[in-house]
Symmetry: C2
Subunit: 339 residues, 2 copies
């Protein structure tokens, strides 16, 4: 009860910080959103139809907001941050479109995935279109170094996705492999989003490195919580189906830790369920019971909290400011979803 | 017979020009090929395995060769052309990987398509990886303007592919729609390949525009011939299955023209065959017979020849040189495949 009350307080703090960050970044984010809608347009009707369906589904825009917040914090932003933020969101949405094809997902952000309406083909191609537009917006911002950061991120993200795919259903996957996957497929974009924000804000090398580290740790915490919610989530919490990772055979930390600690009978259940597209709710409940017996969901949340602490510590070199406090407080929000 | 002899001569001239162009660009193309292999590498084994399977299948590297030839022609190339050429080939290969997923193709360059070996998922993701690497190589070359040309090309290519998809099986597709599709999905990359080569070679605005126009017209001729070969091709000529376009319901010029000229009975045959994945060889032969009756394959080749002439005319502003002659002669090669 006490820990549950503490968790509720943490969640409230996190949500409060999110509201304050949303308010602080709102004018800039409105410019970002306008640019996003403009650049999702095309004379080919299917492009804006599909792109807007996904973009307007109301993701929280955490990544572009990170770019904007980093730029504001550094104080000398002249406009490039708007392009970078929109580019970051396009890169993210391109990844979502391709991921849904790769994962054969039916839901995204609580609605039918675009691929179930327009088909896998259009999802692949509109993802490519968004990636192209992302690069065009970066080019227009005119900073080769920032372009380098984002194009490297695009490459590493794809590489991480391939690595995850190669490791699907691989029972020998270690926590280190998992760490490698999430650093690439998720944390890389958070890291790059914060870094190009800092660059747009005129940050020096130390501040830029601090914000890059902050973004990376935040991204790691975010993915760890996502992977907990895939087993513990209530309907609609993520806009995805609970148990998707299990059915796709994704080797996330909760399952890796469970396999390591399972007795023979538990291991048989886990192995039989992993990668079974038709695994039932009963099977899922059995798997979650095994995870709870070995506290693998709890330990994954603990690791997420450790990354939140690292994110906050990364901010140390920054001078005190309202935005620094917000970024420190918001880190909690990323994990609060797991309570 | 006379026209067949003339065609054979043209083909020989074209092939001769190709050999001379290959020889002239060989030292630079070896650097391009080395860079391609290096940048297809990754610590994630599936990435180089899949990428090299495709890259080493022995495409003719026409697009990067165009970049190198344009740079050599302009005379002041300092090395960026190697990066651009490799980036152009990566963009092309990323498109092929995604296209094969979109088209559900089984063959590519005469071998099983990568997706039939590694799956659609890996093909989508390795395509994304190659696109990311392409942009990284462009960034390393350090010219924002060239990056603008290639990122715009990436966007327009994807847009063209979506347009083609939207028009599949659409009987109201006009030759103008088709022209719009092939300008975007095919000619754009030839155009950009030639243009960034010119930029790397230090071309002035007029020369740059001339080479851009040349690339575009060459690309249009190339795609027109490809679309003829899909109906007229002999086994292995393209490394694809003859009749794929028909089975996928692709509205290419030979079928658009046939639908426009068909009598009622012919139209019924065409409509019934379009987009039927299981359309038999007999059906395909019936369709080709209708096309021959209305000379739609011949008229498509004629249009390709018109674009070859435009390509040659585009070279007019260039001072006389060995490379100019080669580029003029090579244009014939693109159409000679159709004889």
């Amino acid at each position: 009860m006490a820990s549950s009350a503490a968790a509720a307080t943490k969640q409230a703090n996190g949500a409060g910080a999110l509201d304050r960050l949303l308010a602080a970044t709102q004018p800039e984010m409105e410019r970002v959103n306008a640019l996003i809608l403009k650049r999702a347009d095309s004379h080919v009707e299917m492009v804006p139809a599909l792109a807007r369906y996904l973009i307007e589904a109301g993701g929280k825009r955490l990544r572009p907001m990170l770019t904007i917040a980093a730029a504001m914090l550094c104080g000398k932003a002249r406009g490039a941050q708007i392009n970078y933020a929109a580019a970051v969101e396009f890169m993210h949405n391109a990844t979502l479109l391709h991921d849904d094809v790769v994962d054969e997902s039916d839901l995204r952000r609580g609605r039918p995935a675009a691929r179930t309406i327009w088909g896998n083909q259009a999802s692949v191609l509109v993802g490519d279109f968004l990636l192209g537009q992302a690069f065009m917006m970066m080019v227009e911002a005119g900073d080769l170094e920032a372009l380098g950061v984002l194009s490297k991120a695009a490459t590493i993200i794809a590489e991480g996705e391939v690595f995850q795919l190669a490791k699907a259903k691989d029972l020998s996957t270690t926590p280190e492999h998992y760490d490698q996957v999430i650093r690439a497929k998720t944390a890389m974009l958070f890291e790059a989003a914060a870094e190009v924000g800092a660059m747009a804000g005129g940050a020096d090398a130390a501040i830029r490195a601090a914000l890059r580290d902050y973004g990376r740790e935040l991204g790691l915490a975010f993915q760890l919580v996502d992977d907990v919610l895939d087993y513990r989530g209530e309907s609609g919490a993520m806009g995805k189906n609970t148990g998707d990772d299990l059915r796709e055979g994704k080797m996330t930390l909760p399952v890796i830790l469970a396999l390591a600690d399972a007795n023979r009978a538990e291991r048989e259940i886990l192995v039989a369920a992993l990668g079974q597209p038709a695994a039932s709710e009963t099977t899922l409940a059995q798997v979650v019971a095994i995870m709870n017996r070995h506290d693998t969901l709890g330990r994954t949340v603990e690791l997420a909290l450790a990354h939140v602490r690292l994110a906050r510590e990364a901010l140390a070199p920054l001078p005190a400011s309202e935005m620094k406090t917000l970024l420190s407080d918001i880190a909690e929000f990323y994990v609060s979803r797991a309570y």
